[in-house]
Assembly symmetry: C2
Homo-oligomer: 355 residues x 2
């Protein structure tokens, strides 16, 4: 990518970026240029007020799979974030209670612990905040409010000992604690030690020639302007700071109208600022093999097409077929391994919990 | 129960029972009267053309959890038969694709391997047959037909090696084999070694005095007329034979109108025979603690109420509060233990699989 093009990209982005993002970009650009390839840590960072403990993880896993926190009693975190597969739901956009269809593609929960903000529009700073969103969203889990959610949990007596084990004695069956437990569980949903990670740690034979070529191409053409760091979701930042980018940066790309990329205005739907129109949190790229279809609206079916689109809409470039094949081969090295997980056992339900 | 009352019950049932059920009742009555208490076997029986193998169980578990066999891509066997809990969905009646609400309470999958027929109305002879029902049911998983279901599976390339491992080389990705694998997995979903089972095997201390009193009451008042055998779902019978009973046998019971027990005519909806009106497969009683709400329409919230209702509608008896408490205490000894299960890993999806 020429300097002029890179500067152009950044200046266009700046028009629509929040202050935190400006700071992010300022630190991001040199790291991208110089940076060594970074492996994913073996442990996800946790906030000081919610250290990850086995008791919280166990409770969080139970709550994550528990459909009883939805109004209809049949939707859980797992419904749209399938940890037996790609951490999403393989639909263009998700289905919540009573068949309601949402507006955006479910982001994967795998490695969400490494994202500096949550949701496509970054409206939650942390996993704890994120966990409080869907339960009271009318088209997701459909509860009237978070009080109603925790009321459901309180009406399942078998949960109390698990909350006490995780959070101590007293009035601990609270929504804050439920969210902390779910976040603690989600911090275990990480996939270090992919072929790429082994390469980044120095095992140069972990990638094939084509995969290594793809990695080099990925950097050379400019993908690492945004997709950098161990999760390829941007540079390391303070939790909640967010790392955002205009998408599409080049709205005249023929892919934009074809895939209806402009009608959802992204971060502007949260801030109400014109400057945030079509600005999005930069997503990670791990486990892309499992997370089709792609983009915020789930309109793109293959990684090939996603790579061509990003080159066009963000870098104003058209890649050759060989370049695309190489980059895709590299991206596929970001897959798994997924940790083995035992199914949780959920406590029984009073018969009048769900109407 | 007096002899006259018992005979009355049976003769009313005979009016509406199919030939196979008459045979069942003929063998059932003496077994009930004399029979020792039977523990659940440690291994579920399997048909000769589908022996249970680890490879089939592994594939079947994957398919059981795979929502991609539903039209909307978000409903699987697991959606209504939650093996992390009671094997049902804790709703009065189930929700399928696009928010469609079904007409009957989801029966538990736990120990379904021991039922002589499947579905509330017994319309499937085996677990293999049962597995082919919901995928093409328009309000359950909503696929156009079973060809469309297996076509989905064929479009997930990662499944083929698992089918080959389970069924050998060749054209093995078939609906019949998918159903066989799911049935094989379901034959592992059994809960032997409950407190009751330990008692039945001779450990008389496995039940408390109240629980043992409840067990005696359960037999004395006549519950074992139907709820006998190791699964309390009737006597051992040839697979597919079915064990059915009129419910309510005493339709003048005040509980009948209150709970709308007559409007769904049960087995008559399958056979079209007037004699089968309000005839139902006798369900098992294990893990009742986990399967509220109760009955075919999910209108009853507690085990207490369920016991009072059955005494009234089937035996024309009113139990004392102490009798009810004892029987409930006994029924609670039929709970678990549930086997630990590792989550399956599902193969990735092409991006255009679900619209």
């Amino acid at each position: 990518m020429s300097h002029s093009k890179r500067n152009h990209t950044i200046s266009r982005s700046r028009l629509s970026i929040t202050v935190c993002c400006l700071a992010a970009l300022a630190t991001a650009t040199p790291a991208m240029a110089a940076g060594p390839w970074q492996a994913l840590p073996d442990v996800a960072p946790a906030p000081s007020d919610n250290p990850t403990t086995p008791a919280k993880v166990e409770l969080g896993k139970m709550l994550y799979f528990d459909t009883r926190m939805s109004s209809s009693g049949n939707i859980s975190c797992f419904s749209c974030h399938n940890v037996m597969e790609g951490g999403d739901d393989h639909r263009p956009t998700s289905i919540g209670v009573h068949g309601h269809v949402g507006g955006r593609n479910a982001p994967t929960v795998w490695n969400a612990a490494f994202l500096p903000s949550q949701f496509w529009d970054g409206r939650a700073a942390t996993l704890e905040d994120q966990a409080k969103g869907p339960p009271a969203n009318p088209i997701e889990m459909g509860m009237a409010n978070l009080d109603a959610v925790i009321d459901r949990v309180k009406h399942i007596p078998g949960y109390k000992p698990y909350f006490e084990e995780a959070f101590g004695a007293g009035d601990v069956v609270t929504m804050d604690n439920a969210a902390k437990a779910i976040a603690a569980y989600e911090r275990t949903l990480i996939t270090p030690n992919s072929a790429y990670d082994r390469y980044a740690k120095g095992d140069l034979k972990a990638l094939t020639d084509q995969e290594a070529r793809g990695l080099a191409t990925f950097a050379e053409v400019g993908c690492t302007s945004c997709h950098q760091g161990p999760n390829f979701s941007g540079p390391e930042m303070a939790p909640g700071t967010g790392f955002f980018m205009k998408f599409p940066t080049f709205p005249d790309s023929p892919y934009v109208a074809k895939n209806d990329f402009l009608s959802d205005t992204g971060r502007a739907t949260v801030t109400g600022n014109d400057a945030d129109k079509n600005v999005w949190r930069v997503p990670g790229l791990r486990n892309l093999v499992y997370t089709a279809p792609y983009f915020h609206n789930g309109q793109v079916h293959t990684i090939d097409e996603a790579v061509r689109i990003m080159a066009s809409t963000q870098l104003n470039k058209e890649l050759t077929d060989a370049q695309v094949a190489d980059v895709v081969a590299f991206l596929e090295t970001l897959t798994g391994p997924f940790p083995a997980q035992e199914m949780p056992r959920l406590p029984p339900t009073p018969g009048n919990l769900i109407d």
